[in-house]
């Protein structure tokens, strides 16, 4: 994974940190303290925090793309305005996150170059098509709902600037889920064709949603250290279960089918058992080889070029000021 994120740290070498500072840092984190930008931190901490936040920023700005496709095709003016507002929020989140990532030592320009040149990663769910209006409902309720589990947990992460922007991001994501539930409800209580369209979208999104939280804990690399440093707050599986507990009831409540016949609630363990998805697909998609990866990246590149004159104008304005 690390080779995709630029030259910040070579893949295998362990960076040399001052052992005394490292010990003090570990003590502070263990005591629940949070780190501010500009304070001393181990190189590996900086690297992992940057990787996490840069990927989050990329995902916000790439996540705007499948949804913006539906702004011109939204069924009513009210839906169009709500969707426009949501897409604007996502781009705003990217702005906040790139600024936080920047405090970890990588410039906004470098990160954007990483993204448009296909070296950086963004979340698996944004590599898939949004084929129908029902996909918009699924994205707003389930994709944003999944993101809320991860980001909600990370509000207590150890990097304080990230924790602060997540507070605001979660506050806005909650609106998106509310908007999405309204679209979901309209379709779920609609005509048989609307219900079929919703079920079809749910079927297509189920595997990406199970993938969303990452590999099973048993194979998730260096999870323990990230948990100890609170760059990760809950394990992948914990978050996946939290998501299922909150969102499976919504599917059932509206008489739709959970697209996994193997999904069973185990009362004794208070957890869901689900059919193991194809984890190779997640790896493939994560390497920008998903069904829509190339198309979305080229769209991002096209806008980047198209808007170059704005960046130039701002730079010249700055020089003249």
């Amino acid at each position: 994974m690390s080779h995709n994120m630029g030259p910040t740290m070579p893949g295998h070498e362990q960076p040399q940190d001052d052992p005394e500072l490292l010990e003090r840092f570990n003590e502070r984190i263990a005591a629940g303290d949070q780190i501010e930008a500009g304070e001393w931190m181990p190189e590996e901490y900086r690297f992992e925090a940057l990787r996490l936040i840069q990927m989050h920023a990329n995902s916000e700005i790439m996540g705007a793309l499948p949804e913006r496709e539906w702004i011109p095709r939204a069924p009513t003016l009210a839906r169009k305005m709500a969707l426009t507002a949501k897409v604007q929020d996502e781009v705003g989140h990217a702005m906040l996150l790139y600024r936080v990532a920047e405090t970890l030592g990588r410039s906004r320009e470098e990160m954007f170059a990483d993204l448009v040149e296909g070296r950086a990663r963004f979340h698996n769910v944004f590599h898939y098509p949004a084929e129908t209006w029902a996909d918009v409902a699924i994205i707003q309720v389930f994709v944003d709902g999944a993101a809320m589990q991860t980001q909600g947990a990370l509000r207590s992460c150890s990097y304080a600037p990230y924790a602060r922007v997540l507070k605001r991001i979660c506050y806005e994501e909650d609106f998106h889920i509310q908007l999405g539930l309204d679209v979901w409800r309209a379709l779920a209580e609609g005509t048989p064709r609307q219900r079929a369209m919703l079920q079809d979208a749910l079927n297509r999104w189920w595997t990406p949603l199970i993938h969303f939280f990452g590999m099973p804990d048993r194979v998730s690399p260096h999870s323990e250290k990230m948990l100890a440093w609170r760059i990760k707050v809950k394990s992948n599986e914990e978050l996946r279960q939290q998501f299922l507990r909150r969102f499976v009831p919504i599917i059932l409540e509206y008489g739709l089918e959970v697209p996994d016949p193997g999904l069973v609630w185990v009362e004794a363990d208070q957890r869901y058992v689900y059919t193991e998805p194809d984890w190779e697909e997640l790896k493939r998609v994560g390497r920008n080889n998903g069904p829509k990866s190339a198309e979305r990246l080229s769209l991002r590149q096209a806008f980047y070029r198209q808007h170059a004159w704005v960046r130039d104008a701002i730079a010249q304005w700055g020089a003249a000021a």
Partner: protein, 127 residues
């Protein structure tokens, strides 16, 4: 504060034994945004923006920080102009002695008054 940069810049005499204040080391085009929700509230740092000058910083700040919640006034200032106490100096905020005498609540009589009549008639939500 989001606006703090990567490296520490020591303001003033670098030879001083304990550095208790520093200037935030941020890129020149980063502006810290302070938002006032209501006239009765102070301006609060809500985040940063990148902009070539103050006017554009205010425009970008408006787009990014006032989409939903109330705002009556925005301030922007180049983040690199902000001086802050250092993390190492945080202990200067720890009270050196018991300061309960500064809080009315530490006196038992006062506490009774506070928790009964005064508080009931001065709840925050009534303000």
């Amino acid at each position: 504060m989001t606006g703090i940069g990567r490296a520490e810049t020591v303001a003033g005499d670098a030879a001083r034994a304990v550095t208790w204040e520093r200037r935030l080391n941020t890129p020149h085009d980063v502006w810290a945004v302070f938002l006032q929700s209501h006239k009765r509230d102070p301006h609060v740092h809500v985040g940063d923006v990148h902009a070539p000058d103050a006017e554009m910083a205010l425009v970008v700040a408006k787009e990014n920080y006032t989409r939903r919640d109330p705002c009556v006034n925005l301030w922007v200032v180049r983040a690199e102009e902000i001086h802050a106490t250092t993390a190492a100096a945080a202990e200067m905020f720890e009270p050196g002695i018991d300061k309960s005498y500064r809080f009315g609540g530490s006196y038992r009589k006062q506490k009774q008054v506070y928790q009964s009549a005064w508080r009931l008639s001065h709840r925050d939500e009534d303000q």
